[in-house]
């Protein structure tokens, strides 16, 4: 798994690539936590290059969403593959995450 973060004026964009499983999800969660701790609570998580997402990755995302919502921020998702989107749907998360077809649209939604 690789993570690249870009900081825009109002939004931080974190692009994740590779496999998010229980071996790698703790790193994703801590990188997201760093953003939140730095006061960056409007976050776009770009999932375009995520090949695999297990429940450990979902856990990192839900935990971050809870943290940013408490301070009126949001964690919005961009570009999930059909497979990742299906996993989100099966896990009942499409109703609590705002999901966008591109990074640009996710950024513009803030």
């Amino acid at each position: 798994m690789e993570i690249a973060t870009q900081d825009f004026k109002r939004v931080a964009v974190m692009a994740v690539s590779g496999r998010v499983d229980s071996a790698t999800a703790p790193e994703l969660e801590s990188k997201l936590r760093e953003l939140v701790d730095a006061g960056k609570t409007q976050i776009v998580l770009d999932l375009r290059n995520v090949e695999y997402m297990s429940s450990a990755g979902l856990r990192a995302m839900v935990s971050t969403l809870k943290a940013v919502k408490r301070v009126n921020g949001d964690l919005r998702l961009a570009n999930p593959s059909p497979r990742v989107e299906e996993v989100l749907r099966l896990a009942g998360l499409t109703s609590i995450f705002s999901i966008h077809p591109s990074q640009e649209e996710a950024v513009a939604s803030f």
Binding site: D21, A23, S54, V87, L90
Partner: protein, 153 residues
């Protein structure tokens, strides 16, 4: 317990097996192994993805909540049964029957959702059946079944 090993041309009696340390860093190897073995056995791609994820979720559970950092092994086998495909997971961790885990309430608002608890649920909905046996010598055997996913011989 039947210990049928691979032999070319033996159809339903062929079984591919893998043993890895109970360490989350080996999950990627478990996933690749199941993926490759299921492909050899002619399973459809969507079914392979489902079985791979279901097995990853349950192996993760065994490693993190069963062994809890203690040394141990996860055994994985991929076995055809007619048109069905079975993934068998064995461990020597304390007894844990994934069928008994209550379903999460997916209608709860965010504030009341637990952050975790989705792994076992996903493994159940991604498969057609989960069988469980507490092994006589200790440990668990979980069999994940995906039906009608191969062109049966």
């Amino acid at each position: 317990m039947d210990q049928v090993t691979s032999a070319p041309g033996t159809g339903d009696f062929a079984q591919a097996e893998l043993t890895v340390p109970a360490d989350v860093r080996y999950l990627v190897i478990i996933r690749r192994f199941i993926h490759e073995a299921a492909q050899v056995l002619g399973a459809a791609t969507k079914s392979i993805d489902d079985l791979v994820q279901a097995a990853d979720e349950l192996a993760t559970n065994a490693i993190l909540h069963g062994y809890r950092g203690q040394l141990g092994w996860i055994e994985v086998a991929v076995r055809p049964a007619g048109g069905d495909l079975l993934v068998i997971l064995r461990d020597q961790a304390p007894p844990f029957d994934p069928r008994l885990v209550p379903e999460p309430d997916l209608s709860l608002p965010l504030e009341r959702r637990p952050v975790g608890g989705l792994g076992v649920y996903l493994s159940r909905i991604l498969t057609d059946e989960i069988r469980y046996h507490a092994l006589p010598a200790g440990g668990n055997e979980v069999i994940l079944v995906k039906r009608g996913v191969r062109a049966a011989k």
